[in-house]
């Protein structure tokens, strides 16, 4: 018997039949905003993200204070098409408002990197291999601060 119950807002405890130790499984990804000066807002996604977290991701992407937007996926371990849709929407809004937009996703976030590549979004967004490279691209497109 596997019993699933919600414990707090970010963990679900999976209890497994006697003989196995119950273990906490961090199944819900985190998203947070970081400001890098007054010109760039950074939204950092860690862990797994899907339709269950997309409202929080959209909220974080929208809370950009009118600044250029950098989405850091280097520590994300999974994204589904609803998250890709949210990224595309954020990019479209940024372009409409003449704000620069960039995504960072390192090779270590291999499953996420692969999804970006197979969907063709790696080129379209565009995606940079590190947060520093993405920041440099944002600054270049806006003129150095």
């Amino acid at each position: 018997m596997i019993r699933l119950g919600r414990r707090g807002h970010k963990h679900e405890r999976v209890e497994i039949r006697p003989g196995y130790a119950a273990r906490d499984v961090d199944v819900v990804g985190e998203v947070r905003n970081e400001s890098a000066g007054d010109r760039v807002e950074i939204v950092v996604l860690t862990g797994e993200h899907d339709l269950g977290t997309v409202p929080r991701v959209r909220e974080a992407l929208a809370a950009n204070g009118g600044k250029a937007l950098l989405v850091d996926l280097c520590a994300a371990t999974f994204v589904d098409s609803s998250i890709l849709g949210a990224l595309l929407e954020a990019r479209r809004t940024a372009l409409e408002e003449s704000r620069a937009f960039a995504v960072a996703c390192s090779g270590e976030a291999e499953p996420v990197r692969r999804v970006l590549e197979v969907t063709g979004l790696a080129d379209e967004l565009p995606v940079h291999p590190t947060r520093e490279a993405a920041m440099a691209a944002l600054e270049a497109s806006q003129g150095s601060p």
Partner: protein, 269 residues
């Protein structure tokens, strides 16, 4: 990995927060049968997208629905079946967020094969297969068939083959600037091909590709079983006259290649 099938069955309420649970169950399944990270990532992606379709599209907003996932690992392949009991796939004027626009192409890209069906008792089932890498971590080599120059068809021999070949030839001939007279010659040749005996063909269907050969069009018919191409040519002779309908063609050749025997019939505009 064991060659015996290992199966996981999971039944869930079709809710967004359960998508993470689907991935955890698959991760445990992957641990149990020792499959690699790449294949697991693919399985998670497919399962999430397929279950998300059920969450977003299958049931009306005010109705709680069910989604079932079955994973079967057998013979170097994992098959995923995701099933709901909802309203099925319907064209919609505007897709909401989390739409099929990205999800299905993503499944198609990641899976080695997938199909969607509407079971008789309602809902939708999506079946996807992922081939597992070998012990050295090498995936299987995927070979893609050549891109056809025009159209390739395989049709049940007899009356069903005639209209298909005639219409496809007519489109190709229109594009190639054929005169009406030559188009009608080509349709006659197509009719003669359609009348072929199923038993003469290697897979019991009339196989035809219509290709551009410079300014001309070419019917490439086959693959035949041995002698099948010649039997087709013999049947194209008009009874009593000793004249073959192949007189309408500019070139007729029987080719014996590695991929079987083919008949090439070329016709100019």
């Amino acid at each position: 990995m064991s060659t015996q099938a290992t199966e996981l069955r999971l039944g869930l309420a079709a809710r967004a927060e359960n998508l993470a649970l689907v991935r955890q169950a698959l991760a445990g399944f992957a641990d149990a049968i020792a499959i690699g990270d790449g294949a697991l990532a693919d399985l998670k992606q497919i399962a999430t997208e397929a279950c998300m379709n059920a969450v977003v599209h299958a049931y009306p907003d005010d109705e709680e629905g069910r989604v079932d996932l079955v994973a079967i690992a057998s013979g170097g392949t994992v098959e995923l079946r995701v099933r709901d009991w909802g309203v099925g796939f319907r064209p919609r004027p505007a897709e909401p967020e989390g739409s099929l626009r990205l999800g299905l192409p993503l499944i198609a890209t990641v899976a080695d094969s997938f199909e969607i069906a509407s079971p008789a008792d309602g809902g939708t089932v999506l079946v996807a297969r992922v081939r597992l890498a070998d012990a050295d971590g090498n995936g299987e080599v995927h070979t893609r068939p050549d891109v056809p120059r025009e159209a390739e068809m395989a049709i049940t021999a007899g009356s069903s083959a005639r209209p298909v070949i005639a219409r496809v030839f007519a489109i190709a001939a229109t594009r190639a600037g054929f005169s009406l007279e030559r188009m009608s010659d080509g349709v006659l040749l197509g009719d003669a091909i359609a009348a072929g005996e199923a038993s003469d063909f290697a897979d019991s269907r009339v196989g035809v590709s219509i290709e551009e050969c410079g300014p001309n069009l070419c019917f490439r018919v086959g693959p035949f079983v041995e002698g099948g191409a010649q039997r087709m040519l013999d049947r194209m002779k008009l009874p009593g006259l000793g004249v073959s309908i192949t007189k309408l063609a500019d070139r007729v050749e029987v080719e014996a290649g590695e991929d079987g025997e083919h008949l090439e019939i070329e016709i100019s505009p």
